[in-house]
Structures are given as structure tokens and as C-alpha cells.
Symmetry: C2
Subunit: 106 residues, 2 copies
DNA sequence: TGATATACATCGTATCACGAAGTATTCTGT
DNA sequence: ACAGAATACTTCGTGATACGATGTATATCA
């Protein structure tokens, strides 16, 4: 997929990956893989950004003797997903504008 | 609309604005306005980029005593729109992933 | 024992939208 | 005739950001 297009979907995709139950970095990448692939460096950058802006919360917990960082969506994060749903109407209009068939002019 | 999301649609939107008939900067902005607003600096940056990468062609022509730059889509530009159409299937899958209703787990 | 998977982190780079500011002409209202 | 809006294009600086490269550390498995 076009990189620029991906950019607009990444944040909301990560939020969607944790919206039903908390998750952690490595698992998020695997869960998202069928929909969108991303490198680890990209994901951890995004997770940090989403945390800083209050769209998700982090807590560390032990797993197999190691600390693992679990991410949970916040109310603001859920609101972000709702905003995406709202944006979708505009996006569909753009899609139709871009892919409309040429008019027969004469 | 979310800025990042906009980024992914801008190039293809500009191409769509000239795909039926050649156009020029100021007109492109007005034609796109119902779908997406953009500043002049943004548009002219995009036009230059699309020209450099061969997705559109430019020629200057006189209009009311002034030179105006007309942009025309190339075959590569049309192909770019086709690619967007292809990307759409993935985008729809992502949309469903993001907006799917929470499963009832217990 | 060596490779692979898990798990997270940091740094540098290239791309890019946009505001601000500039230049220059034409049109419109008073 | 004059001011201001509209038309038309350009350049510069900035902040945001995806990603490759690289590093650290442990667990699993052949």
C-alpha cells in the first residue's frame, strides 16, 4: 500500500488492535499483520506517541520472568476511533471523486 | 479531517482533479474544495512533485496577457489512480478492522 | 550450541503539509 | 480614479513522522 496512505491509518489501527483487550508490542504487530505490516521501530514510536497524547495507558507486568509493557485504550483513544468513523464519510466522497468514470462530453 | 489521513489522499486527489481535462493551480484548489481543502503552498509543492515523478505534464499558455501553467495527467498518473483503486480493498479491510463492534466475550 | 523467536529501545534520515511572506496582474465596487 | 479583493504562482522554514539500522536481553528448540 502507498506509504502516505498507510500513515493516516496506522495510529487508529494500533488503537483498534487494543480496543477489545489490552495487548503488548509484539502481539500488536502480529494481530495487525493481516491488515497492515509495520516494523517494530514504527510501532514503538507510535505507542509512545499515543501514550504521550493520552490515547492509551501503559502498565508493566511480569511475564516469564521478564517485564512486558501492556497497553490499554483510554476514553480519549476510543473517541479517536469515533472520529475516524466520522472522517470516513469524507473519505468515501473523496474515493468517489478520484475513481469516478470519465464523463462523456460530446 | 485528520492530517495524516489527508496526506495519503492528496496526491491522488490532485491527479483526479486533472484526469478529465487539463487544469491549473488556482482552479484545482477550487475544484477540490468540496472534497478537501488545501493551501496554495501545499498544492504547488504537490504539483512540482507529481511533475518530477512523471505523473503529470506541464505547459505554459497565455491567458489574459499572463502565463498560466496547465497540468495534464500522464499514463503513469492514470496508473497511479488505478493503484489507488487497488489499495482500496486493503483500506476497506482496515476500516472494518478498526470499526468492528466489540465481541461479547462472556 | 547455535539459530530463531520474543520483546523493547534509540538514532539518523528522508519525506512532506503548511503557514508566512513575497511578486504581479486583473477585476470590482464606490 | 482608487482601494481592496481575487487571481496566479513561488520560496523558505518548521514540525511531524515512518522506517531502516542497530543494539540489548532472554527463552525456546533443533
Amino acid at each position: 500500500m502507498d506509504i502516505q496512505l498507510k500513515r493516516g491509518l496506522l495510529d487508529v489501527c494500533v488503537l483498534a488492535a487494543i480496543k477489545n483487550e489490552e495487548s503488548y508490542g509484539y502481539k500488536i504487530i502480529k494481530d495487525m499483520k493481516p491488515y497492515m505490516e509495520m516494523s517494530e521501530s514504527t510501532l514503538y514510536t507510535i505507542l509512545k506517541r499515543l501514550e504521550t497524547s493520552g490515547l492509551l495507558e501503559v502498565h508493566s507486568a511480569e511475564h516469564n520472568g521478564r517485564l512486558r509493557k501492556y497497553y490499554r485504550i483510554t476514553d480519549a483513544g476510543s473517541k479517536r476511533i469515533d472520529e475516524f468513523r466520522d472522517d470516513w464519510k469524507e473519505i468515501m466522497a473523496i474515493y468517489r471523486f478520484v475513481t469516478r468514470e470519465d464523463q462523456i462530453n460530446d
